[in-house]
């Protein structure tokens, strides 16, 4: 893992001291709310429905056991004993007191964490594949580049007051698990014609009220020139991005209004000026960062684990959990494990302080002290010996963290919705809970197979409903919660996210009482019409279109 150098430590400590002073001045009346608001937002502090909310950055979703224990400690000491992992691979606390926030940030600084770049019109915390550095299909580990982008973008003076927020995602595998096509910039690490590493670059993706898939602006940028190319894009966006209307200020609108060709020409002109200059990443610097992400000391193990195979035959729960919640690893004898934060009837993404402590302990025992947060609101132990899976499963089961549903219909993404969020129009969490309970039966989930439901409580789409196989958007209709359903969305997939799609609205919305039945009707229609049990919901939808689902839902 990346470790802070003296500069990083001093930078974060200074920021804590600044914020402590800003909070004191707000409480003493020297600062008005209007003056204080942008300052607190630059430190991840929002004012939500019931209380302040602190959003903590987890750069590229990577945590150590020590950091997770600190989050558990903060949850217990300053909050209500739990935290909420988000679709940006971050963590949110829902109940901190303003006067405690400087102390919380000081606690975070002790373990090399902060809340910078989690809000505001800056380049936000970079996200990546949650299996980075472990996945069998990876070209190379994208995290060193995510870290290099973090260092370049943190407090970048030219890009601290952009027209709007700006999100970058990086994947190191051809199969996109980081939803790069719905980010402002999506990067796919790949090998170029000469065998050297570089990036395929997509620009102009995003969700929200105007969902768009990012377009390929360059098929290959050599790795040492990545920052020059990113800076070129940012300059074009900063210069031409609209500042007259916040709803039209994202780079996706600029690309849409000006056209990809014009944007590409502008970017190439900037790139021609910048490449070969100070932004070129020296090989030594790249290697120094990569050394932090060097693979752990894996053992030479056989591909198959006799211990695991025998245990699987004895224990059906273990067998199902391994089948769903483990992912192929590049090192023989190892897998990555998804710890589901989606227990049946639970709140997607929530973990109690005790669970966080347990995950920290298990990461130290079983995964070289590494934890990842996925944008799907689960936790990952990236490097687990297959031999250890029975013991790990037993430990997780004892604390309610062994739900065998990764990628199943109950592995639902949901934003905090109207239960917490000041922007929301409708609740998300109770809908997720009722759906989870409706489809709780494991055999039924297995029969349905891969199916991603994603729920947002407003058009800002933090719950990624646009890219749900079944997307649910909460709206306010004359004071009542209503839910609009979209079908056929997908966040990424094969070949640099070419499977990505924005879902189509199936028809008129459903009331709170109707929405779970409507989803069940959609699922039953799929089961009836699929050609084989292997044909996934998404594949079936793409073959059939929405008509049979409309007929089932609306009788026409």
């Amino acid at each position: 893992m990346y470790r802070y150098d003296e500069f990083d430590h001093a930078f974060v400590r200074d920021r804590v001291a600044q914020f402590r002073d800003q909070v004191a001045r707000r409480l003493s009346g020297e600062l008005t709310e209007e003056q204080f608001k942008p300052l607190r937002l630059m430190n991840g502090v929002y004012l939500q429905l019931h209380a302040y909310m602190l959003r903590i950055a987890i750069p590229y979703g990577t945590l150590s056991g020590r950091q997770m224990r600190k989050l558990a400690y903060i949850a217990r000491t300053y909050d209500k004993g739990y935290g909420h992992f988000t679709t940006r691979q971050n963590l949110q606390f829902n109940w901190p007191r303003l006067e405690d926030l400087p102390d919380i940030l000081a606690e975070l600084a002790e373990v090399e964490m902060h809340a910078i770049q989690t809000s505001g019109n800056c380049i936000r915390n970079v996200t990546t594949d949650h299996f980075a550095g472990a996945a069998a299909d990876e070209v190379d580990d994208p995290r060193p580049w995510a870290e290099i982008i973090r260092q370049w973008s943190s407090l970048h003076p030219e890009f601290s007051f952009l027209p709007r927020k700006f999100k970058v995602a990086v994947t190191g595998a051809a199969r996109d698990r980081a939803a790069i096509r719905v980010h402002d910039i999506g990067l796919e690490l790949r090998r170029g014609p000469g065998g050297g590493l570089g990036f395929r670059v997509f620009v102009g993706g995003g969700q929200g009220r105007t969902p768009m898939l990012a377009k390929e602006i360059r098929d290959f940028v050599p790795e040492q020139e990545l920052l020059a190319y990113l800076e070129a894009i940012m300059r074009v966006y900063n210069r031409y991005g609209r500042r007259d209307n916040k709803y039209k200020a994202r780079v996706k609108i600029l690309v849409h209004e000006r056209g990809l060709e014009e944007i590409r020409e502008q970017v190439e002109a900037e790139f021609a000026e910048l490449r070969g200059g100070a932004l070129d990443v020296p090989v030594e610097a790249r290697e120094a960062i990569s050394a932090y992400f060097a693979p752990p000391s894996f053992e030479d193990l056989p591909r198959t684990s006799r211990i695991l195979e025998e245990a699987r035959l004895r224990d059906r729960d273990l067998a199902l959990w391994v089948a769903r919640n483990s992912h192929p690893h590049k090192q023989p004898g190892y897998v990555s494990v998804t710890i589901s934060l989606k227990p049946i009837g639970g709140v997607p993404g929530d973990a109690t302080a005790d669970q966080m402590d347990k995950v920290a302990e298990l990461a130290e025992r079983f995964s070289f002290d590494e934890i990842r947060v996925s944008h799907e609101q689960n936790l990952i132990l990236p490097h687990v010996r297959k031999d250890d899976l029975p013991a790990l499963h037993a430990e997780l089961k004892a604390v309610g963290l062994a739900t065998p549903n990764a990628g199943f219909i109950t592995d639902i993404i949901a934003c905090p919705g109207l239960d917490y969020c000041a922007l929301a129009n409708a609740r998300s969490i109770p809908v997720a809970q009722r759906l989870s309970e409706r489809f709780a039966d494991t055999r039924r989930q297995s029969e349905i197979g891969d199916l991603a439901i994603k729920i947002s409580g407003c058009i800002n789409a933090c719950g990624h409903h646009h890219v749900g196989h079944i997307g649910i958007l909460g709206v306010d209709r004359k004071g009542e919660e209503f839910y609009q359903i979209t079908l056929g969305g997908a966040p990424g997939g094969e070949n640099g996210g070419e499977d990505a799609a924005i879902g189509e609205i199936v028809g008129k919305g459903f009331s709170t009482d109707e929405v779970v039945d409507a989803v069940e009707t959609i699922v039953d229609t799929y089961l009836k019409l699929r050609e084989t049990p292997q044909e996934s919901f998404l594949a079936a939808y793409r073959r059939l279109g929405k008509k049979p689902f409309q007929e089932a839902l609306y009788g026409r």
Binding site: E33, L47, H50, A51, T352, L418, R427, G479
Partner: protein, 99 residues
């Protein structure tokens, strides 16, 4: 006298911890049942002036009036958003965690 449908209360978030508060008869309260019912435009103006003073005194942020109903005996916000603010989240680890 205004009808029940136009009754209002003044709400805000407390500066120190962000918690939901209501203007009561003798100051700010976390319990909506203790909120001062506002029935006329003059009462609303007076409450808003008290809200502005509380902002200046660093007690609350962003005060605003909300519609409430009293048919059931207590004070019930008209909108779902304000009902959730009054009672706390409707589910999960913080269910009902109103102040």
């Amino acid at each position: 006298m205004a009808s029940h449908a136009t009754l209002k209360v003044l709400t805000a978030n407390r500066l120190s911890d962000g918690r939901v508060v209501y203007l009561g008869e003798t100051g700010w309260t976390v319990a909506i049942e203790e909120a001062r019912l506002i029935a006329t435009p003059d009462e609303a103006s007076g409450a808003e002036a008290e809200g502005a003073r509380a902002v200046a005194d660093r007690m609350v942020v962003e005060p605003y009036l909300i519609d409430v109903e009293t048919e059931t005996g207590g004070i019930l916000p008209a909108s779902l958003r304000e009902r959730i603010r009054a009672r706390g989240p409707s589910t999960g680890h913080s269910r009902g965690a109103a102040a």
